[in-house]
Symmetry: none
Subunit: 213 residues, 4 copies
């Protein structure tokens, strides 16, 4: 799916411009989506934000949806290693939670354009497409949670629901953070962490017998 051009084999100018065109389209798309919202954006809007000719778009993507997914993938590809690193470094559950929220909110704060359509004044529909890459990110989190449970570090709760809760809190709190001016990534991370650290101990025992055993 994610066919980021392999930068290891830099051969001639042709390959270079090819890769850079693809990136130019993705970059333009990021800005335009953030500006108009996914629904209102047209392929034309995207290429117009580029130096390229209209036909060129179709050498790289089949549709607006495909660029959007490439964008999501790209983002997921950038966030996931950070989260993974944090969690690997964690020596206990607290560090696991802190690290996850921390690096996510930092990312959001410093890379806002990824966060589409968080415009203060115009009300723009928020669109969410969970690409395989994004879902893989969720999955990774879930697996880590399951491991924590197996290691006794976490009580045996429903890992899916716990993962979903973390995702839900992360997204909504991040949205607040971007909407308001007075919430730092640190505030957000401390808030979310406290909520989860306290809450997790009290969770009911696993609700489902085991994922697709």
């Amino acid at each position: 799916m994610s066919n980021v051009p392999d930068l290891t084999k830099i051969r001639g100018k042709r390959e270079e411009t090819k890769a850079s065109n693809r990136q130019a389209i993705i970059d333009a798309a990021r800005i335009v989506f953030a500006d108009l919202g996914y629904g209102a954006t047209t392929v034309r809007d995207i290429i117009r934000a580029t130096n390229l000719a209209s036909g060129t778009f179709y050498n790289y993507f089949k549709s607006k949806e495909e660029v959007f997914q490439a964008l999501q993938d790209e983002t997921a590809l950038r966030v996931r290693p950070r989260l993974r690193a944090e969690r690997i470094r964690a020596r206990n559950f607290e560090e696991f939670i802190v690290g996850t929220f921390r690096s996510y909110f930092d990312f959001v704060k410093n890379d806002q354009t990824t966060f589409i359509a968080v415009r203060r004044h115009r009300e723009i529909p928020r669109v969410r497409i969970d690409t395989p890459e994004v879902i893989a990110g969720f999955e990774e989190l879930r697996v880590d949670i399951e491991n924590a449970i197996e290691n006794g570090v976490l009580p045996p709760a429903d890992a899916d629901l716990l993962m979903a809760s973390m995702v839900g809190v992360a997204f909504e709190v991040a949205h607040q953070m971007l909407t308001r001016d007075d919430v730092t990534a640190d505030d957000a991370a401390r808030f979310a962490t406290a909520l989860f650290l306290g809450g997790v101990q009290a969770l009911p025992r696993k609700a489902k017998p085991g994922k697709k055993k």
Copy 2:
């Protein structure tokens, strides 16, 4: 595009209570949106799922977005009284949290069509437009939280973030509930409640000095 199931139309032409065209459109829209997703749906798709003529649509709504908002409003209008009732009845913070999640998950479970595009197999973008009515629902929750804080029932946390967290958890857990088959509204409510009851005690003191200081 545009292959909406007929479903033998939503409502007969001028049979039925007269002023119900508006409702017929909303009902059709609910089904069509759930089927095609917001983005892919056209006004034509909606009227086609009706016995009405295309022009008639515009006697009631200006655009697809407007119907979608009417839909959201309608939903909010149906959920909010339940939530409010639960919270009024609550005699302590636990009952407040339980009641809120409980009635929300019950609603979702029993009125799934509102929940657009939770199709198991086709991947459909999720679109979220927070209409005034929906925002008012959030606001109501936030105010209740603020009151709880003032009454000392809750520690002085950031009410916005707490509200956002409840919303995020509610949405994501509901999504899991609809996607999986083995999570009841009760499971979901108990999970979310435990998470919040435990977590809330540990929340950091208010991060913001006051809304719109």
Copy 3:
């Protein structure tokens, strides 16, 4: 296939304009096709030759091919009755042949616009699409030939090939007639008739055992 609007039920202005728009498109198409040739003609060319808006085209036809076929059908529908009448009136084989060629060449001569792309100087590809209506015309001719054979009026030749030959001669001679200035419909008819009257007697016995018997 051929859905010529029923002119018997003239109800209101709406139906009228609807029918007349359809006809306007067909008429424009006839001229444009004759002018540019089928291949070079675009849907836009056709609507441009009309007072109608571009979208209107698609209320009536799905594509250029569909109008072309409507055109062919319309033509076939106009020629066939004449040919049929001639052949019914015929009291012997000679009259049968004469009548057929005669009325065909007359039609061509007096309704040239039907005859696409017979431009003297630009060389324009000739396109031929045999629509069901046109094929039905061929069929009709073939059946008449078969009957003639059964009645002993014609020797037992291969009716398909005989029909094909008449068609081939008719088309090519008509084309000559339109290309040159000095061949009248009468000349053409006398030529073709003589050829067939003389030739038919000598035809080999039926080559095929019977159509899909």
Copy 4:
């Protein structure tokens, strides 16, 4: 559109006799035209059926029309010598006619791919472009007919119309032959020959005073 069978490419890239790119394109075009019909075929379809790059096409041909004409010419160039040989060998009018039809139908039968779009089940428009080479073939036939008239071997009929009739019969009967399974080249030739031998005697005296007076 554009789903041309690969057919494992027509020819290897620079293997094979070098100057054969032109031929590779023509060969690919022959197949693709036969498959999609002239109108539906694009230059891209043709080069895709080749191992060549798109730009290379333009080193050899200016457009799809030009390849098509090259194809027609190639065909004409292959048929004409056969027809000429037959006619030169002919010692009387009968042999002239027999030879002409015979070798034409043989050619068609054994080289069907030239005969575009004689697909049994999909209905594909037949396109005919009379290239100079093809017209020269017609011309040659006409001249032979005129000579026959001058030599008294044929009665003084209109040579144009006679030529046109032969062409029309040849094309239509060939089409039947390809469409049906039970007509051999021999059947076709005997049929056409009989028709003409018988008919020609009765033809009316020359209708036109002379070509391009």
